[in-house]
């Protein structure tokens, strides 16, 4: 039996996104747990693990965010295929190699079969590289073993459900996925990507609380650096030369802040340019003269 679990903080989002996806993917005997969120996502997911662990016939537990919609009708078959290897502990649809911190996307991403659907600025969709069936496949795209997964969709093996737990000491939200994947790997099991197609209905604001993210990143690295030598390692200075690391990182952070300002300025400039063009067109005599025609046309429609 493949179970589905989702911690819910926004009922409307769950009903719009996660619930239809679960209905699309589930089998008649699937257990579905939409729980109200219990404090942190770590704790909420542990509750779901406890509930699923009680099922003796459990084949997998699918944990998904309330804004994630499974759009893959063959989802359960894909899950079974990925979990056919008993060494696999957790499966996802986005993963990366050489992930050294919570910023796993700064590692080498090997698979990402999702579309980011946003609702700002009139809405739109950004398909990740493994989500465009007609596009030329990226040379680096491949499913298989990775260091970590994006946690918006995680499929846990029965072994993982019964043996591991999300580490509630780490914080509210950030880093639960990276930490869980490290636990799976430390136990000698595999973290795997599979071609599970989902839509992530998410704002374009990728980091809503930077301070919380920074604190979680520090905690996760402190927890794992001695056990996984690459965790926390940085380019340009030896891992144990803290002064050099601090200098370099402070410089990188300052550069990153400046580049962010630059990106914001460029965005504003481009917006101004397009608004100017629109303004020029709409203020033109021909556009103003033909306004009654457009009004009539709109009324007729």
């Amino acid at each position: 039996m493949i179970a589905f679990g989702c911690p819910v903080t926004d009922s409307e989002a769950y009903h719009r996104f996660a619930a239809p996806g679960i209905e699309r993917a589930r089998e008649p005997d699937s257990a579905v747990y939409p729980n109200s969120s219990a404090g942190s996502i770590f704790r909420a997911y542990n509750l779901l693990l406890d509930q699923a662990a009680a099922h003796e016939d459990l084949e997998a537990l699918v944990l998904l965010h309330q804004d994630v919609e499974i759009v893959d009708p063959g989802f359960c078959a894909e899950v079974r295929e990925a979990l056919a290897d008993p060494e696999v502990g957790v499966v996802g649809c986005v993963g990366a190699l050489d992930a050294r911190s919570l910023a796993w996307w700064e590692g080498a991403v090997t698979w990402a079969s999702f579309a980011h659907r946003y609702y700002e600025h009139g809405g739109g969709e950004l398909p990740a590289f493994a989500m465009e069936p007609d596009a030329q496949p990226m040379p680096y795209a491949r499913t298989g073993v990775v260091d970590t997964l994006d946690g918006f969709l995680m499929v846990l093996s029965p072994w993982a459900v019964r043996t591991l737990r999300f580490d509630e000491s780490l914080g509210q939200f950030d880093g639960y996925d990276f930490d869980f994947c490290l636990q799976v790997r430390e136990a000698g099991r595999k973290v795997l990507t599979a071609d599970l197609k989902v839509i992530h209905h998410h704002s374009l604001e990728l980091l809503s609380n930077p301070e919380r993210w920074i604190e979680a990143n520090i905690r996760v690295i402190e927890k794992w650096e001695a056990r996984f030598p690459r965790v926390g390692a940085q380019i340009g200075s030896a891992a144990d030369d803290w002064k050099a690391r601090a200098r370099r990182a402070e410089s990188e952070a300052a550069a990153a802040r400046t580049l962010r300002v630059s990106a914001q300025m460029q965005a504003t400039a481009r917006e101004r340019e397009l608004l100017r063009e629109l303004e020029t067109m709409r203020a033109s005599t021909s556009w103003r003269l033909t306004a009654p025609l457009r009004w009539v046309s709109a009324r007729l429609r």
């Binding site: 002064k243 601090a246 402070e250 952070a253 962010r260 629109l278």
Partner: protein
Amino acid sequence: MIAFGCSITSPEMYARCAEPGFRLVAEPDSEIIANAAAGSLFRSYNLLIDSVADRDDLEALVLVHQDAEIVDHEFLTKLRRALEDPQVGVVGCVGAIDVRNIAWWEGSVTWASFIHRYSEFGGGDIPSLTWLDDQLPGYARTGEVDTLDGFVLCLSPWAVKHVRFDEGLGSQIHGYDFDFCLQIREAGHKVVTADFKVVHHHSLELVSDPGVWINAHVRVAEKWEGRMPGVGKPNWGPAAEDWKARARQAEAEAGATRLQRVSCQLQAEARERQLEAELEEVLNSVSWRTTAPLRRASALLREVRASRAARRAPDR
């Protein structure tokens, strides 16, 4: 005599920006030194300083980037006023206090009387916080600062005689201004802002080569650590001497900020798509397409009128 100096890598840019500014404010006895860049900006500026250092009548040396245009008729009056205090070593139009590294803009900016004029996306102006005299924020004030933005640096005769840009920092361009201001302050002299109005013709790409910038940031911090209070300290968070905590904090900050930048770019692209769709809607509308001949005729008419006006102009 007030001298003007510029290190040039793009003669076109110099002719369009710095030179008109010099011409606007120079006095009959002013010397304008336009040099081709000699290696790094540090070295080029030292060459400019050396070329006026033995002038007994020197009142100031104004070092300006080739893309900076002085647009202030009272520039020299304001400069002389600022240099009345013999303790002043260098004057600029943008400055900040509590500056801890070459990212001086992360300190507390007290004055910035310039416009950032960009040419991308059809061009535009971004006025800085003290550009408009009637819209000064409450914290705006000229006077003593920790450091200046180096696109306009006005050196006192004392600074010209005693201080040089540190070519040993190994940087091409970054950090020369912060390091120079630290040298001035270490020698017991003052770094001050004045209300010079300047246009900085600059791309919206603020850091063109982050790797080079990062290296300069590290070198300048290493040079000044322990010599000047506050320099090299982190912006917030761990204690200055707790290098492990500082590394952790900054590594996380850098990761978070890179993600925020991506977020900003995604939002910008979404907004761009939205506006382009609106433009497309206008362009594809029946009314816009059917009135195209009218717009073409109108444009032609404007061209004819303009060319007639141009032909008549020399006769007047």
